[in-house]
């Protein structure tokens, strides 16, 4: 019963924070809500018995990809307007809702860890199983993913390098 309540809480947080993220006018606020939504989805993954996917969701999605977004918003260099926006970010009404949602997720995490719920629910897929499948039948997909990431790296370098060089000339 507990994991059902936790699941509905986490999915409500995910949906509400996604809607809030997509209706913000300010890109930084939107990213904070999006990170919250990804963390809530990670809790859902953990509850349905996929702890490895939950860890990847937090580390790669909420960690790496969102940091890329934030770096680019910083590189766009909003100047004086950006400074005012930065001051505005410190006001409580901006961060109070994400903090409440994040605290709810923290409570869920503590509950889940203290009861070790997912180990007893439906089929738990361990990271060992995932690794064996990934480097067994799916090894070709790993190679294709590496080629895709290499292409992404080269493309991003190409687009970003011209930006930096032309910015220096001006």
């Amino acid at each position: 019963m507990l994991e059902l309540i936790l699941f509905y809480m986490a999915s409500t947080i995910a949906l509400v924070s996604t809607i809030l993220a997509l209706t913000r006018a300010n890109a930084t606020h939107a990213l904070i809500y999006l990170i919250l939504s990804l963390l809530a989805v990670a809790v859902v993954f953990y509850l349905i018995g996929a702890p490895f996917a939950a860890a990847l969701e937090v580390v790669i999605y909420a960690g790496a990809i969102m940091v890329l977004f934030i770096f680019v918003i910083m590189m766009l260099n909003l100047g004086e307007k950006g400074d005012r926006r930065e001051k505005q970010l410190l006001k409580p009404q901006v961060w109070i809702v994400p903090v409440i949602f994040a605290l709810l997720l923290l409570v869920e995490l503590v509950l889940v860890l203290s009861k070790s719920v997912p180990a007893t629910t439906q089929g738990l897929v361990t990271s060992k199983q995932v690794g064996l499948t990934l480097f067994g039948p799916y090894v070709l997909a790993v190679e294709i993913a590496s080629m895709l990431l290499l292409a992404g790296l080269v493309g991003a370098y190409h687009l970003g390098r011209r930006y930096l060089e032309e910015g220096r000339e001006e």
């Binding site: 999006l34 993913a145 493309g155 991003a156 930006y163």
Partner: protein, 104 residues
């Protein structure tokens, strides 16, 4: 076990609702940063469906596809944000309606 486990329908419903949010955001917003964010939401929603189905049958395949989606999302964001830098430099704003003309 049936009484306590999370129903697959509800996880798929969550995935569908997240996807609809992403799709609506993609159609309504004109700022390119928000368009990229909506694409992320949609990719994430499809990942939820894959992981839920994989967990339902106790197979690791769902999480393998999740990792592929992660790789696709990372590559897409890297190239997309490079394009954001170019558009900002060329049009001095991030409105996609300014960038809808092709030269040719």
């Amino acid at each position: 076990m049936d009484g306590v486990s999370i129903p697959l329908d509800h996880v798929l419903l969550l995935s569908a609702l997240l996807f609809i949010c992403g799709l609506l955001g993609l159609m309504m917003r004109r700022n390119i940063i928000f368009i990229l964010v909506s694409l992320e939401v949609m990719l994430n929603a499809s990942a939820v469906a894959f992981v839920a189905a994989g967990a339902r049958w106790g197979q690791a395949d769902g999480q393998i596809v999740f990792m592929m989606i992660l790789a696709v999302a990372a590559a897409e964001v890297a190239v997309g944000l490079g394009l954001v830098l170019q558009i900002q430099r060329r049009f001095k704003n991030l409105d996609m309606d300014d960038a809808n003309r092709m030269r040719g």
